[in-house]
């Protein structure tokens, strides 16, 4: 009998508590009109950035494609006449991308970056496949000063081995001098 009364009372209390919600404000964010705040490091759409000199950062090392869990990145390496590597094509299938950001972490040159934009809706699924010209932006993204070829030991036109920042000149292994 006591148990019956308790269960009954619990229902009444529930009804009362729900009724009190008449006077609370709705939690809903009216999305298209009311945009939520997205942090600068929010992981959204993927872009390819350029270094401060305006050249593309990507060296087509394939690390991002290897790190990608759903395998949505495809690219092929090419070499320019000045010795720099570049992706001949760079393709991200955003209908498979899960915005995990592992490609950004894998990237040695800070080329691939995720930006706070997620509004990518298409009526045709094929439009979700972004090519290099869709991915490339005319800026440095989150890392303004970084330039891979300026710190890397790789020789390109206009910068030989040992001429990079904080890089010692190459050691002549054939010489016996200390």
């Amino acid at each position: 009998m006591m148990q019956l009364w308790e269960s009954f009372w619990s229902q009444i209390r529930t009804i009362w508590r729900v009724l009190k919600h008449t006077f609370t404000k709705a939690e809903t964010v009216q999305y298209p009109e009311q945009k939520p705040y997205l942090a600068p490091r929010y992981r959204g759409r993927i872009v390819l950035t350029k270094d401060p000199d305006g050249d593309e950062r990507c060296v087509a090392c394939n690390l991002c494609a290897a790190a990608c869990p759903p395998d949505c990145i495809a690219l092929q390496q090419g070499t320019r006449e000045d010795g720099r590597w570049y992706p001949e094509f760079f393709r991200i299938n955003f209908s498979r991308c899960i915005m995990c950001g592992l490609c950004e972490e894998a990237c040695p040159t800070n080329a691939i970056q995720l930006i706070p934009d997620f509004e990518m809706c298409e009526y045709d699924r094929q439009n979700m496949v972004y090519e290099k010209e869709h991915l490339m932006i005319d800026g440095t993204g989150k890392y303004h000063d970084y330039n891979f070829y300026r710190v890397a030991g790789m020789a390109i036109e206009g910068k030989d081995k040992g001429e990079a920042e904080n890089e010692a000149p190459p050691i002549d292994v054939r010489s016996l001098l200390p």
Partner: protein, 322 residues
């Protein structure tokens, strides 16, 4: 009222009931939104009211499909039964002192009969679908309805004792001094719960039980036939609310305002209460529903019946009985 006027009024009541049921689909979602700290449909038109029209267009233009394994005739017949039965139930409700379609001396029994006929819609829909979920839903509804009809009928007998009539106009007139919700609060309680179970609304929507039975008896239904089931459910909600108002809250009685306005206001509040129940209380398990019915509701009803009879005899010296 003349015959022509009665027919016109009946058509008006039908239109109002169906329109009300349609608006209720939107209103319920908005109200649930209020209680769950969200908005509900608010995009189409002012406050989202045009959502009703959008839903209707969607349902009307859907492919009207009958599964090849279904019992075709029964499958098509089933959804109409609930709508017809529920609309018939509105015939006996008094909306005002002289505002009723018919005032028969068995009005209450007529209402009970119509609600009990509405069961067939669910039952036959479940049977004709030839689908295990639908069948389980139909089975549940059969047992649930038959059980709760018993208390529904018995809980009203106290009201009948106090007013001495089955006619709903007489019952309303008998509440001039005191609404029956005070002397018959146990009857009100049982009728409320039985009413929810009869119109198989949440928390007692075990025939549907979308978590266990996908959609229960209307698993195979779509388009307009599905809309008929929904219409019947909402008509049942309005009908039960109107009956609660008539039987326990003085019907159209009330000061200052015209009777029909009072009736509308009271019915509106009872409907809101039903939606509140839906928002607040989870669905019980099937055996819990049954044991609640037979182990709690039936004793309460019988106690109420005996006590009411004894008090009525004592107070009026048998005056109200004969």
């Amino acid at each position: 009222m003349s015959d022509g006027m009665t027919v016109l009024f009946a058509l008006g009541v039908m239109a109002a009931a169906v329109g009300g049921a349609a608006v209720l689909t939107w209103f319920e979602r908005r109200l649930l939104g209020v209680w769950q700290d969200r908005y509900g449909p608010n995009r189409l038109g002012p406050f989202g009211i045009l959502q009703v029209a959008a839903d209707m267009i969607k349902l009307l233009t859907k492919h009207d499909w009958v599964p090849p394994f279904a019992d075709r005739v029964v499958f098509i017949f089933a959804p109409t039964a609930i709508v017809v039965a529920m609309l018939m139930g509105f015939a006996v409700i008094p909306f005002g002192p002289d505002l009723h379609i018919i005032d028969v001396n068995i009005g209450l029994l007529f209402f009970l009969g119509m609600t009990s006929l509405a069961v067939y819609s669910v039952l036959l829909g479940g049977l004709a679908s030839n689908n295990k979920y639908a069948l389980l839903g139909g089975l549940r509804s059969a047992a649930q309805m038959v059980s709760y009809e018993v208390f529904m009928g018995l809980s009203l007998m106290g009201v009948v004792m106090l007013s001495g009539s089955f006619s709903l106009q007489d019952i309303v007139a008998a509440q001039r001094d005191m609404w029956f919700c005070i002397p018959q609060f146990l009857g009100l309680f049982v009728f409320l719960i039985a009413g929810i179970a009869e119109s198989h609304r949440l928390p007692f929507d075990l025939p549907e039980a979308e978590h266990e039975l996908t959609a229960g008896f209307h698993t195979e239904y779509g388009g307009m036939k599905f809309a008929m089931f929904m219409l019947g459910e909402y008509l049942g909600l309005i009908l039960i609310s109107a009956m609660i108002v008539t039987l326990f809250f003085g019907g159209w009685l009330g000061p200052w305002l015209p009777p029909i306005v009072w009736f509308g206001i009271k019915t509106f509040f009872v409907i809101c209460f039903f939606i509140l129940l839906r928002a607040a209380i989870p669905r019980p398990r099937y055996d819990q529903l049954m044991s609640l019915g037979w182990k709690v509701m039936l004793p309460i009803t019988l106690i109420n019946l005996v006590a009411t009879g004894a008090i009525a005899l004592w107070m009026h010296d048998g005056g109200a009985m004969t």
